[in-house]
Amino acid sequence: MLHSVKTRLFAAALCGAMLLTTACGGSAAGGTGPAAASGAGNASTASSGTAGTGETDGPKYGGTLTTYTSADPKSFDPAALSAWDQTIVAANILEGLVRLNPEGNTIEPGIAKSWEPSEDGTVWTFHLRDAKFHNGRVVTAQDFKYSFERVANPQTASPAAWMLNKLQGFAEYTAGSASEISGIKVVDDHTLELTLTESYAPFVSMLSSAALAVVPQEAVEEFGDDFGQHVVAAGPFTVGQWNFNQDLTINAFEDYWAGRPYLDSVKFKVINDENTRIVEFDAGTLDVAWITPAHYDRLTSDPRYANSIGRADTLHTSFLMFNMEKEPFASNKALREAVLYALDTQAVIDMLQARASVANVLLPSGMLGSGDPATTPPYDVEKAKAKMAEAGYADGLPQAFEVITPAWNNNIKILEIYQQNLKEIGINIEIKALENSAYNEARDSGQFEIAWGNIVATYPDSDAMFYPLLHSDNIGAAGNYARYSNPEVDALIEQARASTDDNERASLYQQIEQLVLEDLPYTYLTHNIYVDICQPFVQDYCPSALDVSTYHRVWLDK
């Protein structure tokens, strides 16, 4: 029942604080007015589809869109963001130096209208535009210094502090031996210079996180502990009426740097139960909903909604992982290959109503270094059996293995399919569904031989997939769950994150993919696709690749 909420929440927990995206299809990034949305939504044929086409004269101002969160967002303090329910709303209120592009898989200018790295990639200079806070004051470079130091300060206990740890002087500041971060330099009101300890390309992508949004010091000090409930920031909407655990309304910010949003307001109802959301949608009291499996066929085949279904390829990859420190899989590559060829992932995708695509490599399509999307999995039972023989287990493995997974409904169904597949080649698995924290604990401490796992990019950069999952520095809780260690892969990952040349990085990532496919610590399964539905009058709504839909280019045709 709650599995997909949990999937989303889990994804969000991984996502950390996300992001400022604009509606799909719109072409203009900056300039004036929410801009260029008309006729942009050619709906659901594209991989990242916009809902709502509408044969109209163009966007209209006004109206309230009603959507949902699954829990009360509780706080929009950038330093306190962690949950999905916070980030999906926060992305509309907060803004930082950069923001996400419409598809949600790369970045575009935010309050910084441009930026450039130094020759060696360690000094980044940001040029700010004339943007205003919700309280009317102009945003300056000093505000960014304040906001970043606030997030980095251990007293603030922000889950996003680590995103700044590449800044020069971060360690001294957090240890208390320096009163400021030396790597943040305010050149003038409109120029900010950030110095890193090493060349680090993903840094700019990280800055699109809502957790690194700019906030005015005077408001933080005025509200103190209640700042999260009275947040003042520089995003397209301001916090309006908020009934705890009930609903929250955000209102158009008239002085937003890109012009006010089309909508007057967006109302987020707190609806935990995903079936209730569909009931509300059917009753016309909710304008946007994630489509539950039970209603998928009905809603997607309903002609009224033909142009109202939005799809988003997410920056997500699921996999089965082998504990590379435990036998029999760790030292037997043929055995791992046997598993790879045994899995009928197409059957899984069919079961998921095609709300996932085949993952033959780690990177989802659209990210730097990803090739053409795969269409068929390497499923081949005969080959799998041959590999079993090569592995020395022609008659199957004598012992059974527990495969741990979070207890989400879909996961159990997915693993039941794989259970059958593996049984065919003589590997018996038992599905051990665990409550989230118990799963995390077992996964992080390596208490498994095979496990189900997934990764969601924390920021829209390929490094967010490779570094945590594959670098040997991150073995365990930090993301390398398979406990995989290959010095060559480590070196390439480091080289890719240090390079500021995108072409070079892309080719490095492809090399890494090849090496990892050789070693096979993970067998990749699927990339998730989110499918949202809107009322037919909702135009240019687009579910985001990072599941943080933003509303400032959405408009209502009614």
Partner: protein
């Protein structure tokens, strides 16, 4: 009577103290590292350690419990890890909404259940009586989840008479669907219990005497039978109120009712320990208080109770 109440209140203190210990220990054995959760999935060990120290999570568990208790007696239930706000403040916004729903449901089910049970007892063996018995069984055995969905589909989507879910301040049309969902099993149970209570009272000598005096049947039932049939009904109200206060999570979730069930669920999900601890504590204490209230009502209905 006041002495009786004071005695019972004092007896609550060790109970609550024991509760705090149990709750604290239970919440702390839930798997998962709180500091890691706050620090974020990809934070480095140093950051995690820093948070552990700042929040006092590195101290021995008994010291942590001592600190918790010390704050508690000062009325401080801690601050939510998520909102950084006092948990007490949050509980005070969500708990009254659960009470609102529970009390509304209980009042309706007492009135409806008692009336049905009484009517059935008077017409024992009739078709009406059998109908009521069936209603009782049905009310108890309908899955709440399914029933809620059917109510939503029929009354909200098909006919559009009522809003499918939400909360707008309490005693308005938004309370109808969740109250019916919760109230059907309560009323069913109440009907059954009050029916048998009346059946036990009705053959008693004093009822015969009342009838023999020539009293009207109405007066016999309402004045003489009712008060004596109330004892088992009262004890049911006690357990039922406890069920309604603690067991509304599903109904709150389906009808987006912003009560304590939903609050506790979120706290558990995000491992927001102060919020979780406070939720469980507040619920446990309120159950104690409900039981106390029931005992006091017993005493009022039956003077013999006071002297034991």
């Amino acid at each position: 009577m006041p002495r009786y109440i004071v005695r019972r209140l004092l007896a609550l203190i060790p109970v609550i103290l024991g509760l705090t210990l149990v709750i604290f220990l239970l919440v702390n054995v839930i798997p998962g590292d709180t500091a890691r959760l706050i620090a974020g999935e990809y934070a480095d060990e140093a950051t995690v350690e820093q948070i552990r120290t700042t929040m006092g999570l590195d101290k021995p568990i008994l010291v942590q419990y001592g600190n918790y208790l010390l704050d508690l007696v000062q009325g401080d239930l801690g601050r939510s890890y998520q909102t950084h706000r006092p948990v007490l403040e949050e509980i005070l916004t969500v708990f009254p909404k659960t009470i609102q729903l529970a009390v509304t449901t209980e009042v309706i089910s007492i009135v409806v259940g008692l009336f049905l049970g009484m009517s059935a007892a008077v017409r024992r063996g009739s078709l009406f009586d059998r109908g009521i018995t069936m209603f009782g069984v049905l009310g108890l055995s309908i899955p709440q989840f399914w029933f809620a969905l059917i109510l939503q589909l029929v009354l909200a989507v098909k006919f559009g008479w009522l809003p499918p879910s939400g909360y707008q301040g309490g005693f308005d049309i938004y309370i109808i669907l969740p109250a019916i969902t919760l109230g059907i099993p309560s009323a069913g149970m109440m009907a059954r219990i009050s029916r048998s209570a009346f059946l036990e009272v009705l053959p008693q000598n004093y009822i015969r005497t009342a009838r023999a005096k020539g009293l009207q049947e109405k007066s016999v039932i309402w004045k003489h039978a009712l008060k004596n049939a109330l004892i088992p009904v009262l004890s049911l109200v006690g357990t039922d109120m406890s069920r309604l206060l603690t067991g509304t999570m599903i109904v709150e979730s389906v009808f987006s009712w912003p009560g304590i069930g939903k609050y506790g669920y979120d706290a558990l999900f995000y491992k927001d320990m102060p919020a979780l601890q406070a939720t469980v504590l507040v619920l446990a204490v309120s159950i104690c208080l409900v039981n106390l209230a029931v005992d006091v009502l017993y005493a009022a209905a039956d003077p013999r109770v006071r002297y034991h």
